[in-house]
Structures are given as structure tokens and as C-alpha cells.
């Protein structure tokens, strides 16, 4: 029974609860049992809120018993990335510096999930402050990829992708600053969407790089992602950068997948050195599939994309050096060395020394340097100019095509530890995802097959113009349906059982 529950999609679970075939409590218990059974191996969760989840589930069942109208995801369990504040529930952002902090308020995303009766199972592991592509930078230990527990589940949102791929949750929330939703989706054969910047409120989402950070939905199917997207998206008066416009019709698009007559771009700069052969092969097959489905393929040249990684590693650290300044041991979180003899400055220094990991320190230093007077124009200033060029390249591209496709990440999941001491190699994982963050438009990753050489999942990235998030779902649903038909089942079914 419980095994069949955990394999259901979110849409199926919601339908069964609405029809009275399953109760929300049963569904929640099945997932809590699954977490209990496998999470010791996977380590997707930093905190499981057993009691809270069951209470939420009971409330859904009561609502239904009273005949109240239920939302489209009522009673569906979800794994929340530990970067969103949750009132009364620990929020660590994967960092020691926030160990033990219980936020006094809910993020807007948290609030909207609760209002939609989505059952929050707990908080998922992540690279500290979302800085990383492997979840190895978590201060609480790495997460395993359910396809191969010795490999990384992607990052920073590796906890969320692993929770989906191990059937610990049918839905998850991630955040994407340079690829932290899409790259984990790619390496676990799940679906992840980075909405248009401003599409989902950042209020209560602990900031890494404010102008790049974007929360978004993670799921095992395109339709589930769309249903979740609709719940969390929309204008929030508490976030000045949130877009005050109707949410694009993502669910409708996901229910009506089609690429017939669409112009699909492939970018010259998204291939070449550093791309694994099996990844390129699966990508080329995806392009061929799109053609078969009726799309017109257009080759594009976006020269500024070659500069994206460099610009990103100036802008994101600059903003983070300022965003993370607040962690000073004064008001919340860790405090080290406060023995009554030391100055506030000493306590701050000792706390930051002990509380921040190496990658976080590296980026704070990079950013502090890039913003310093005398260097600002050469570094931060130039990076902003590159950002403008990238935005223009996208604009020009979208004059010719409706969407762009690329591999999500140049390689499949690498072994835990392989790139841990080589930040540059690690940064390359986000080569194809970063331009979208810099330009602020929308993108999705969905599974497009296993690389023949290692049998690990490859992700296909679809990129749409800003506020055209629905196109991701229209194209994604069509590709997903065609692949599932070809494979005879969802790709994730090929993962070894845990």
C-alpha cells in the first residue's frame, strides 16, 4: 500500500484525496515511513517535522469531511529547501552559523504552501547558503544521489532533488541563483523550474545573491511542477522585486503540451569542450525529437554567454558579501567566544570563523574585494555590463525563437569528493544555467535519458523569455510525454531501488 502511494504523482495524490480514495494522513504517513526507511542513506532532510506534517494532514482530512473546497494540491506532501523561513521550525540554510535558529516568521512561499494545504514534511539539505553545485558544502554533511549514493545529487538544492528521486516526497521547493534547481533536477532525473525573476516572492528566502536568487518548484513530472508553480507564484507586496502581473498560465500549458510550429533555438556556445559525450548525445537526440514533434530548429550565436560564468562569480559573491554581513552573532544564531572578556568585534570574528564554511568564506572575500573602491569598476562594474550584454543576446535570440534548449549541465553526477577541492571545476557545472539567472528569464530542466557511458541521468534545459514561463511547461510536457512513450515508463523507474 504505502509503496504504491509514494510512487504516485502529486496530481494523482490530490485527486485520490479529493475522491476519498486516500486520506491526507495516510499519504503523509507513507512518506514519513519512506523517509524513516531511506533517509539515513540519502540524507535529503535536515529536519523532519513529523508532528507538524501530520497535523496539517489531519486538517486537510477534516476540511474534506466538512465538505470544504480543497485546493489542487491539498494534502500532498512537500520537501522544503532549508533556505525558506518556517515559523517555529529550524532554518539553517545548511550553515552552522544558523544552527539552532527558530525563525519567528514564515516566508511568503511557506505561507502560500500552508494556505494551499500542502503538507510540509520537513526541511531539505543544501550547500551552505546555496553556494555550491553538489550539496557537499552543507555544514551538516553531504546528500547522496539516489541513482548512486556515492555521487552528488547536484546543488545547491541536492536535498530537494534527492527527496524526489528517492520517493521521500512527490514535491519539493528549491532556489536557483546559478542553477541550484535545474542542475540537481538534471542529475537525478527529476523536473525543476527556475521561474522568471520576480515570479515567486523572495520574502523569507535567506538571501545569497538578491538579484539572482529565485525560488521555484521541483517535482517528478512537468504537470506536478506546474501545479506547484501556481501555488507559490504571484505578486507579494513584501518583496519589492516581485512582479505585479498575473502568473503565466503554467498549468494550462502543462496540460496541453505541444511544440508543433514552435521555433526552438540551440545556442552555439552551449557545447564543446567540457561536455560529456553521453550528455551531448542525449541532447542531440532531444533536438531530433523536438523536430519530429513539429518544432523548427534554429541555430543561435550568443557570444556574451562565454562571459557569463566570470560575470556571475563577481556579481553573486559581491551581493553575498553584503547579504551575509548580518551574521554577526548579535541577534540570532551561533555565538562563539562570548565569555565576558571579549569585545563584540572579537565575538563576531570568532563566530564567523567557526560558523561559515570554506566556500562561503571564499565568496565573501571575493565579493568584498570586487566591491572595493579602486576595483569596483573593473570587477563589479564590468560584470554588470556583461549582464546587460547577456540580456541583449537573449532578447535578440527570442526575436528568432520561442524557446531555447541546451543540456542542463555539461556532465552527469560526479562522485562525492571529486571536485570538492577544485572550485573552478565545480563552478563549471553551472555553465549552461547561469546565463538565465543573469538575464532574469525562466528555465526548466527535465530528464532526457541516461548517458550511455555511466548510465546516469541527463537533463534537457528549456529556456523561455521573462514572464513566458508557460512556454517551458508547454514544451516540457510535450517532450516528457514523447520520452515516456519511447521509454515505456518515467526515466526515474530505472533508478536502483534503495
Amino acid at each position: 500500500m504505502s509503496d504504491s502511494i509514494i510512487k504516485l504523482t502529486a496530481a494523482e495524490i490530490a485527486a485520490k484525496i479529493a475522491a476519498g480514495e486516500l486520506t491526507a494522513v495516510e499519504v503523509t504517513q507513507a512518506h514519513l515511513a519512506r523517509i524513516e526507511a531511506v533517509d539515513e542513506k540519502v540524507h535529503a532532510f535536515l529536519h523532519v517535522d513529523r508532528e507538524g506534517a501530520l497535523a496539517q494532514a489531519r486538517a486537510v482530512d477534516e476540511k474534506r469531511a466538512k465538505g470544504e473546497k480543497l485546493g489542487p494540491l491539498a494534502g500532498v506532501p512537500l520537501a522544503l529547501k532549508d533556505i525558506f523561513t518556517t515559523e517555529g521550525i529550524p532554518t539553517t540554510v545548511g550553515s552552522k552559523i544558523l544552527e539552532g535558529w527558530i525563525p519567528p516568521y514564515d516566508a511568503t512561499v511557506t505561507q502560500r504552501l500552508k494556505a494551499a494545504d500542502v503538507v510540509i514534511l520537513g526541511k531539505t539539505n543544501m550547500d551552505e547558503f546555496a553556494m555550491g553545485s553538489s550539496t557537499e558544502n552543507s555544514a551538516y554533511g553531504p546528500t547522496g544521489n539516489p541513482w548512486d549514493l556515492t555521487r552528488i545529487p547536484g546543488g545547491s538544492g541536492g536535498g530537494s532533488s534527492a527527496a524526489l528521486a528517492s520517493y521521500e516526497a512527490p514535491l519539493a521547493i528549491g532556489t536557483d541563483t546559478g542553477g541550484s534547481i535545474r542542475q540537481p533536477a538534471a542529475v537525478t532525473a527529476t523536473v525543476g523550474v527556475k521561474p522568471t525573476y520576480g515570479g515567486v516572492s523572495r520574502y523569507g528566502m535567506v538571501a545569497f545573491s538578491s538579484s539572482l536568487d529565485q525560488g521555484g518548484p521541483c517535482a517528478r513530472t512537468v504537470l506536478d511542477a506546474a501545479l506547484l508553480h501556481e501555488v507559490i507564484a504571484g505578486h507579494d507586496p513584501l518583496d519589492s522585486t516581485s512582479i505585479d502581473a498575473p502568473v503565466p498560465p503554467v498549468v494550462e500549458a502543462a496540460r496541453n503540451g505541444s511544440v508543433a510550429g514552435m521555433r526552438v533555438g540551440i545556442v552555439k556556445q552551449f557545447r564543446g569542450e567540457g561536455y560529456q559525450a553521453g550528455v551531448v548525445q542525449r541532447f542531440d537526440e532531444s533536438v531530433a525529437l523536438l523536430k519530429e514533434l513539429g518544432a523548427e530548429i534554429v541555430e543561435l550565436d550568443c557570444p556574451s554567454f562565454d562571459l557569463a560564468l566570470s560575470a556571475y562569480y563577481l556579481i553573486a559573491p559581491s551581493e553575498c558579501s553584503s547579504n551575509l554581513a548580518r551574521f554577526d552573532a548579535m541577534r540570532y544564531g551561533l555565538r562563539v567566544g562570548d565569555d565576558g572578556t571579549k569585545s563584540a568585534e572579537d565575538v563576531t570574528a570568532l563566530t564567523r570563523e567557526a560558523g561559515f564554511g570554506d566556500e562561503v568564506k571564499r565568496r565573501i572575500m571575493l565579493g568584498t574585494y570586487a566591491l572595493s573602491s579602486g576595483y569596483y569598476d573593473a570587477y563589479y562594474g564590468s560584470a554588470q555590463k556583461v549582464r546587460t550584454l547577456i540580456t541583449r543576446d537573449f532578447e535578440k535570440a527570442f526575436e528568432q525563437v520561442d524557446v531555447i534548449v541546451s543540456p542542463t549541465t555539461p556532465t552527469t553526477a560526479f562522485p562525492i569528493g571529486e571536485r570538492a577541492d577544485d572550485p573552478m571545476a565545480m563552478y563549471l557545472a553551472d555553465l549552461c544555467t547561469i546565463p538565465t539567472n543573469l538575464a532574469g528569464n525562466a528555465a526548466m530542466s527535465l530528464p532526457c535519458g541516461l548517458a550511455p557511458e555511466d548510465g546516469l541521468p541527463v537533463g534537457l534545459q528549456i529556456i523561455a523569455p521573462a514572464m513566458k514561463d508557460d512556454r517551458l511547461y508547454k514544451v516540457g510536457a510535450a517532450v516528457e510525454a514523447a520520452f515516456v512513450e519511447r521509454w515505456g515508463h518515467p526515466l526515474l523507474e530505472e533508478a536502483p531501488s534503495l
Binding site: 538571501a207 513584501l238 522585486t241 563589479y380
Partner: protein, 503 residues
């Protein structure tokens, strides 16, 4: 701390030309903070007016207070500034425990208002134009209280208490261009500028600008250059000079100190300095060898502020009469001297007198009460005039009672005293204290007869034509009526009864 031998002010000015720059921070009187919905009310329990945003909690975000932007535009317009069509906030990064985010959300190279001026009037009536560089929006920090040290400074303190109620209160920083050409009058110009700015802010209704409560704070930058040279000297920045008098004294002290250092062949160190109220001196704060690196960059959590031209023009149309022009108009209307007007201004009585006149009092009476009896009372109780528990309407009512003859001057003073003592409005005080002028002719006649009988010798003198002697009899009558008689009427009755006519 080294004691500086000062050069006399006259000697300093004989060789050097002062250049000043004034930076004034004004806390806006908005109901809520700059970037969140917390109250700005003063005097609340420490940390009771805080939320995730103004505490800089992880995940919190700012939202700009629209009223603060409107206030900033009004201030900019009143200072004859250009208003930016598009401007951004910027982060000023530095660490201090009372600053929750360890950056201050401020404006850097895109201020909301720039290139303006303020004409200020010196005590002798001369008008001096102070050019304005910029006015920009930012947020205040929290407040640190250092405990255990000698002077409340952090040095020697055992611990510090942090109150974040002030963190995030909207501030406008107004920066002048270098003020040149004031010569010996530089300290006076500085004081007049801050005074004028304070009046302006109050007239706009955007802040009460009470310096003693920290709602308006001034930094005085000053340098000297040898007479006849162009290049500015090295400046000192005297921080947080928080009264008009102190602004003048600080500028004056720094002129004398700089001159002493320069004339003895020394060099001025670029540094911040603390001003000491007790003796008017300044002492060295922290040395600024190079400009501090605040690593400013545009605030990514906020969208640009873009005041439309239509809105700016709407606000321009609502601007009140400039305080200086209004003062000159009132001075003429009231017929008072430049000097008396200055006293009225210094006493903070202008608006009170205007309101009293508006409530029906004659101008001279309104002025007499506020600058006389009430000024004395305020002085004794250590309060500002507008903090006295009496309203302009009540003062106007007292003058009306005097005019209709039911109070004389002496009784009126008692009524005012009663109102100040919380005994109610003027009519209530008159009733409770029984302070009506005795106008019962019978009773008054009897009192007059009694006085004449008791002072036969004086009565004879009056009969003999010494009308001036009547004063003594008036006094006697006033005494028996406990001051409640109309002195003029008493005199009339005395003369009538003694068969004498005046002059």
C-alpha cells in the same frame, strides 16, 4: 588628549579664510519606518517596535515607505533642488552592532534631490545663500547604550545594550556644497543655516526636527585656507552637534584650533571630532587616513524610485511659504523690529503667536503673553513654549476676557497661571477662582466711599487739584476688592465723588 592652545578668533580670521560643509540628518515624522511597517513612536520599551525586516533577520526584505519618498521630494523642492527622474538606493557596507544588516540602506551616486540652495538671514538682516549639494534618503541605525564606562562612551564599558526601535526610521541627509565667502561670519552662517533648515522642515510638516531629541543632527566640516588662496585646506568633521548654539560654537572653536595648528607650522589631520557642550571644545575622534571604503553598490532588494514629473509638480504646488519670507511678512504685519522678531524666533513663538492671532487675539496682545508671562513660565519649568499646557486658543480667550472688561491685567495673569496649573480652560479658572472684575457699581461705590473716608488727607489733596494722588486711593480700593476691580473705573468713580475732572 592634548590641549590645544587656541588662536584668538580675530587673529585666526586675520590670516585665514574658513570653508565649511554642513551635513544635516533629519528623522522624518512618518508613522512607520523607512522599509517596514513598524511604528516610529518615540519612548517605547526597547526593541518593542521591531520586526524581521528592521532587525535584519535572514530572509527579510525592505519595502520603501511612500510617505518618506514624498517627504524627501518636498524637502528637495523647498531647497530649490532638482528632483531625480530615476534613482536607486545603495548599500553602505560597514559593521556596527546597532546596525542590524551591517549595511545601511542609503543612496550613493543617485540622490533623490540635488543642486539646490537655501537663503538664510543673519541677525542683522543680511541674506546669505547656502548652496545645497544633495538630499538623499536613508535609514537610521539602532541605539547602543554602553554600560559601566565613565562617560557613556564605549571605552571602559563592561557591556552594551542595543535598542533597535530606532533602526530603520527614515532619515533625510542634506549636504551643502562648500560654503565659501562667509569669512568671520562663518559660525553665524552655520547656525542660521541649521535654524532656517529646521524651520523649513517644520513648515513642510515632514518632521518636528527637535534637535534635543536627536530628530535633527548636524555634522560640521570645516577647513581653513590662507587668505587669498583658492585651494581648500584639510578638513575636520565635527560629528553630532545637536543644538543651534553648539553649531556656532563648534565652527568657531574649529576655526581657532585650525588657525593655531596651521600658524605654528603644523598640519591638520583629516579626522572626525567630538564636540563637548560643557566648554565648547572639540576632541579628536577617529583618524581618517584614507576615505573609509563602504563598498557601495546599488541595493538589489529594491526597485528604483522614479517620481513622475506630474507628481513632483503636484507636490511643488502644495509647498508652504518659505519660513524666511513668512517671517519677514509677519514682522511687518506685527510691526516689530528685526531684533524683536529674532527673539520671537529664538523662543520658538512664531507659530504660537500666529495661532493665537488666528484665534482672535490682537497681535500685540498675543505677542505680549507668549513672550512675557508664558516665556517666563517655560523658562522656569525648562520646557519649550509649545510644550506648555496651554493652547493659543486659550491665550486668545484670555485676551478677549480682558478686552470685554471682565478681567484686568492682573487677573488675566492669574487665569493664565490657573490654566498652566491644570485647572481647566480660562472660563473654568475664572469661575473656580472667582476672578471676575467687580463691576457692581453699588459695591464698588461703597468701597470707594470707604477709601475716601479712610484717607481724608489724600482726598483733600485731590479735591485741591492733585489728580495724580488718586493713584493711592485706587490702590486702596483694589486692595479691598482683592484686585477684582477695573482700576480705570475705580479712578473715574473717585474723581467723580470728589468732584474733580481729569486734566
Amino acid at each position: 588628549m592634548t590641549v590645544t592652545e587656541l588662536v584668538s578668533y580675530e587673529d585666526a580670521l586675520a590670516s585665514y579664510d574658513p570653508v565649511m560643509g554642513l551635513e544635516v540628518h533629519v528623522e522624518l515624522g512618518t508613522k512607520t519606518k523607512m522599509f517596514c511597517g513598524c511604528s516610529t513612536e518615540l519612548g517605547a520599551e526597547p526593541n518593542s517596535q521591531t520586526c524581521p525586516t528592521c532587525l535584519g533577520m535572514p530572509g527579510s526584505l525592505p519595502v520603501v515607505n511612500a510617505v518618506a519618498v514624498e517627504s524627501a521630494v518636498k524637502i528637495g523642492l523647498a531647497l530649490h533642488c532638482e528632483i531625480a527622474e530615476w534613482c536607486r538606493f545603495a548599500r553602505k557596507n560597514y559593521f556596527y552592532p546597532d546596525m542590524p544588516k551591517n549595511f545601511q540602506t542609503s543612496q550613493y551616486d543617485e540622490p533623490i534631490a540635488f543642486n539646490g540652495y537655501l537663503d538664510v538671514q543673519l541677525e542683522d538682516g543680511e541674506v546669505f545663500r547656502v548652496e545645497i549639494e544633495r538630499a538623499h534618503m536613508e535609514e537610521d541605525t539602532g541605539k547602543s547604550t554602553h554600560v559601566g564606562g565613565a562617560t557613556g562612551r564605549i571605552h571602559g564599558a563592561s557591556h552594551s545594550l542595543l535598542d533597535y526601535n530606532r533602526a530603520g526610521i527614515p532619515l533625510i541627509e542634506i549636504v551643502t556644497k562648500p560654503i565659501e565667502g562667509a569669512g568671520a561670519r562663518a559660525p553665524e552662517v552655520a547656525k542660521a543655516y541649521v535654524a532656517e533648515l529646521r524651520e523649513l522642515i517644520r513648515a513642510l510638516g515632514v518632521s518636528e526636527a527637535r534637535m534635543e531629541m536627536g530628530q535633527m543632527r548636524c555634522d560640521v566640516n570645516l577647513s581653513l585656507r590662507p587668505d587669498g588662496t583658492e585651494k581648500f585646506g584639510t578638513r575636520s568633521e565635527t560629528k553630532n552637534v545637536n543644538s543651534l548654539r553648539s553649531v556656532e560654537r563648534a565652527a568657531r572653536y574649529e576655526i581657532q584650533r585650525h588657525a593655531a595648528v596651521l600658524s605654528s607650522g603644523g598640519t591638520i589631520v583629516q579626522e572626525t571630532r567630538h564636540f563637548h557642550e560643557e566648554d565648547g571644545s572639540t576632541t579628536s575622534g577617529r583618524v581618517k587616513e584614507e576615505a573609509e571604503d563602504y563598498r557601495y553598490f546599488p541595493e538589489p532588494d529594491l526597485v528604483p524610485v522614479a517620481p513622475t514629473r506630474e507628481w513632483v509638480e503636484e507636490l511643488r504646488a502644495t509647498l508652504p511659504e518659505l519660513p524666511r519670507l513668512r517671517r519677514n511678512r509677519l514682522r511687518e504685519e506685527w510691526g516689530v523690529s528685526e531684533h524683536d522678531m529674532q527673539s520671537i524666533l529664538n523662543a520658538g513663538a512664531v507659530d504660537l503667536i500666529v495661532a493665537t492671532i488666528e484665534a482672535g487675539a490682537p497681535a500685540d496682545q498675543a505677542r505680549k503673553w507668549w513672550m512675557g508671562e508664558l516665556a517666563r513660565s517655560a523658562n522656569e519649568s525648562g520646557k519649550a513654549l509649545d510644550e506648555l499646557p496651554i493652547t493659543p486658543a486659550q491665550v486668545a480667550r484670555v485676551t478677549a476676557l480682558v478686552k470685554e472688561g471682565s478681567l484686568n491685567d492682573k487677573l488675566a495673569r492669574q487665569v493664565i497661571e490657573g490654566v498652566l496649573a491644570g485647572e481647566g480652560d480660562p472660563d473654568a479658572v475664572v469661575d473656580k477662582r472667582g476672578l471676575k472684575v467687580v463691576s457692581d457699581e453699588g459695591a464698588l461705590g461703597a468701597a470707594v466711599d470707604e477709601a475716601i473716608a479712610a484717607n481724608a488727607a489724600i482726598a483733600d489733596k485731590i479735591r485741591g487739584g492733585k489728580v495724580a494722588a488718586a493713584g493711592a486711593l485706587v490702590g486702596a480700593v483694589m486692595k479691598t476688592t482683592r484686585g477684582q476691580a477695573d482700576a480705570a473705573r475705580v479712578k473715574e468713580l473717585i474723581l467723580q465723588k470728589l468732584g474733580v475732572t481729569e486734566g
